[in-house]
């Protein structure tokens, strides 16, 4: 298990599985006097699921919000597909965001729209040339992927917590992104539904060959979904490795997640 952060490369990614799609290097982010990220480094390769593990309030969500450009790091670089997101203008950022899906912790479905309208919303903005028939087919395909095709005309308020999460996942996947950022995908769900979400993450990753960063402190989710785990502690990438390495670790900072 690596105990230091990786040396990262700014090379343009190639098509091999080991090529990096996201490179986070020396990122600092501070809110007032609270230094949330300090010299944080992380690399995510093509078709790799990286779980960022950490306690509540450790800065995990801040990290992925910096990656998608919702927050700007105070210093350091975040390269996504070879582009430094903190230096992009709004139009270029919008272009790169079409390649990145983001699953919010609270789902963030538009509550004034039906499930269909929620899924159509990103499609209508980016795949402008598509006919209504094609849009309908994509919406149904996305909902079938999560087993909820029958909810297409329902309002978000009519759905259960697990269904909302799955619809949010369908919306995240509808533009067929290359990278997906999951913010606490299983938080607030019962264990059975949480495992269903884990399985969906794996299924969709295999189907669409996506790379993912999964933010969680749910160890079952880590075990089920992680190709690699990075522990965020005191704003730094404290440790990286396979789930099994973490499980067998004697480090007290790592062991506390398994107790």
């Amino acid at each position: 298990m690596a105990t230091a952060t990786n040396t990262v490369s700014k090379d343009v990614p190639d098509n091999s599985k080991d090529s990096p799609v996201i490179v986070v290097e020396h990122v600092y982010k501070q809110f007032g006097s609270n230094l949330v990220l300090r010299d944080f480094n992380l690399v995510v390769n093509k078709e790799e699921n990286v779980v960022v593990l950490g306690k509540s309030g450790s800065g995990k969500s801040v990290l992925i919000k910096c990656i998608i450009g919702l927050l700007k790091p105070d210093s350091g670089n975040i390269m996504v597909f070879g582009e430094n997101v903190s230096e992009l203008n709004h139009d270029d950022l919008d272009k790169i965001r079409t390649k990145i899906g983001f699953l919010f912790q609270g789902n963030a479905l538009y509550d004034s729209m039906t499930v269909r309208e929620n899924l159509e919303f990103p499609l209508r903005r980016h795949w402008i040339g598509y006919s209504q028939k094609q849009v309908d087919a994509l919406v149904i395909e996305a909902l079938e992927n999560v087993g909820l095709a029958h909810t297409v005309n329902m309002m978000p308020e009519e759905l259960s917590g697990g269904m909302l999460k799955r619809v949010a996942l369908a919306r995240t996947m509808i533009l067929k992104p290359d990278v997906i950022l999951y913010d606490e995908p299983t938080t607030g769900l019962d264990p059975v539904t949480a495992r269903e979400i884990d399985n969906l993450i794996i299924k969709l990753q295999k189907k669409y060959h996506t790379s993912s960063i999964i933010i969680t402190h749910d160890m079952h989710c880590v075990k089920n979904t992680a190709d690699r785990v990075a522990l965020l502690l005191d704003g730094k990438c404290y440790s990286e490795g396979k789930y099994e390495d973490f499980e067998n670790s004697t480090d007290k900072n790592i062991k506390q997640f398994f107790e």
Binding site: I68, H90, D94, R97, T98, Y110, D111, S112, P122
Partner: protein, 256 residues
């Protein structure tokens, strides 16, 4: 010390509103325009406010007439009641009361809607899906309030005058034709146009403040409640300030 803090807070807030307004012109007015959402907001903001504006307008016209009558009877100029009511409604009371009713309904609803969208990360979700939430949410709502309030004011004025006609006929008999002939003979273009033009500014202020408060809502249910509440208060105060400036300006231009 507290006074200094309040003054600083006032100037901070004023600066933030000015920046937000600047962003509306620099970002919100650039293509691509969200026409479908704009039409939808015009329907919600304009059409759905009509019953409230109509009811308050009718009552306002009726009550104003009934309150004015005794004074005019004392001076022996009861026949001038339609003229007086007409000028009062068209020049001042109609636009201001309609704008205040509109602010109470629309500024609070926009503040609460955008505030809850902010709190539940729906605005962030829009942004990460590559849609500019400022254009989609703010520009459309501000344009809708700016365009719809003048229309509502005209309708409110008409219904108010009808209420005044009913009010006149409670104690005496005046024909519909005579009442409205007297009203329109007393009104000139100079009475109507400044009152009409200022309603665009009232509408803009209501939309801008509602969106500003909602878009910058703090987290939690209290934050959303505060956004809705402060949107109404600030929008109402701005309506009076704009009205004051409009009256001064029309006076300077010799339109009064």
């Amino acid at each position: 010390m507290a006074l200094t803090g309040s003054i600083r807070e006032f100037f901070d807030e004023t600066g933030s509103v000015a920046r937000f307004t600047g962003r509306f012109f620099s970002t919100g007015m650039k293509p691509r325009f969200e026409i479908k959402e704009l039409l939808s907001q015009c329907y919600i903001i304009g059409y759905k406010s009509l019953p409230l504006v109509a009811l308050t307008g009718f009552i306002m016209g009726l009550v104003l007439t009934m309150q004015l009558r005794p004074s005019l009877v004392d001076y022996g100029v009861e026949s001038q009641l339609p003229v007086m009511v007409g000028i009062a409604i068209v020049r001042e009371i109609g636009p201001v009361i309609t704008a205040l009713i509109f602010a109470g309904k629309i500024a609070s609803s926009i503040g609460a809607e955008l505030g809850s969208m902010k709190v539940t990360e729906q605005i962030d979700a829009m942004e990460v899906s590559g849609t500019n939430p400022f254009k989609y949410l703010v520009a459309t709502r501000v344009l809708a309030t700016t365009l719809m309030l003048p229309v509502l004011t005209m309708m409110g004025d008409a219904i108010s005058l009808f209420g005044a006609y009913i009010g006149v006929n409670i104690r005496s008999v005046t024909s519909f034709h005579l009442f409205f002939t007297q009203v329109f003979h007393s009104l000139s273009f100079g009475d109507f146009s400044p009152a009409f033009i200022k309603t665009f500014f009232f509408g803009f202020a209501v939309g801008m403040i509602g969106c500003y408060k909602g878009y910058n809502s703090s987290k939690g249910t209290r934050g959303v409640g505060n956004s809705a509440n402060s949107a109404v208060v600030l929008a109402s105060v701005l309506i009076f300030i704009i009205d004051l400036l409009a009256v001064q300006l029309t006076d300077l231009l010799g339109l009064n």
